[in-house]
């Protein structure tokens, strides 16, 4: 598909909007679960809210990749090539530090926001290399 600049900007806006909504949903749901008592069904519905919003974000991201031109796709690929092993290394490091008795207060399952941040930094770096 050949997309013009305005279409790419609209798609990028929707990606940012969905990512912002996801961040808001994650914060609000986490706060709500920590501070309120919920029955099983409402709690299940509540925890699924970020999942549904994340699915929307993924959908918008895939649309962005499909409307990107070849250079933009190359930058995205390079960002993944950096971020994926770094995110794995981060998870592995924390896990082994915990096996050694260090950083016991950190839940490895809560590393994903940091891994997402690593990807964002890698994306910025990949674009910056071509400036």
């Amino acid at each position: 598909m050949v997309a013009d600049e305005s279409m790419r900007n609209r798609v990028l806006f929707r990606v940012l909007l969905s990512a912002g909504t996801l961040l808001t949903a994650v914060v609000l749901v986490s706060w709500s679960l920590d501070t309120h008592q919920w029955a099983d069904r409402p709690r299940l519905a509540l925890v699924l809210v970020p999942v549904v919003v994340a699915m929307w974000t993924i959908y918008e991201y895939v649309r962005m990749v499909r409307t990107a031109d070849e250079f933009q796709r190359r930058v995205m690929l390079e960002s993944f090539a950096i971020a994926f092993p770094v995110a794995l290394l981060l998870g592995m490091t924390v896990e082994y530090l915990q096996k050694g008795g260090f950083m016991m207060g950190i839940d490895v399952g809560r590393l994903w926001p940091v891994q997402a941040l690593v990807w964002a930094v890698a994306l910025f770096y990949a674009y910056w290399r071509y400036r």
Partner: protein, 70 residues
């Protein structure tokens, strides 16, 4: 790979944005091609050459060939 994109674009009075729109790519992509930071794929190189009504070898040149004699 060198290219004469900036010269050809200037001859037609097109901005990077206008060329990008005609080629169906982003303005940033035209910029990195012009500055030699990114070599386009063969289909995009052909598409750009076609926009300038030139042969691909008149737009894109091997390293070390500045295109002065082209």
């Amino acid at each position: 790979m060198n290219n004469r994109l900036r010269v050809l674009r200037a001859e037609r009075g097109w901005t990077q944005g206008e060329l990008a729109e005609r080629a169906g790519v982003s303005r940033q992509t035209i910029n990195v091609i012009e500055t030699g930071k990114y070599d386009p794929s063969l289909p995009l190189a052909f598409a750009l050459a076609r926009l300038f009504e030139a042969r691909i070898e008149d737009v894109f040149l091997p390293d070390g060939d500045s295109g002065q004699g082209a």
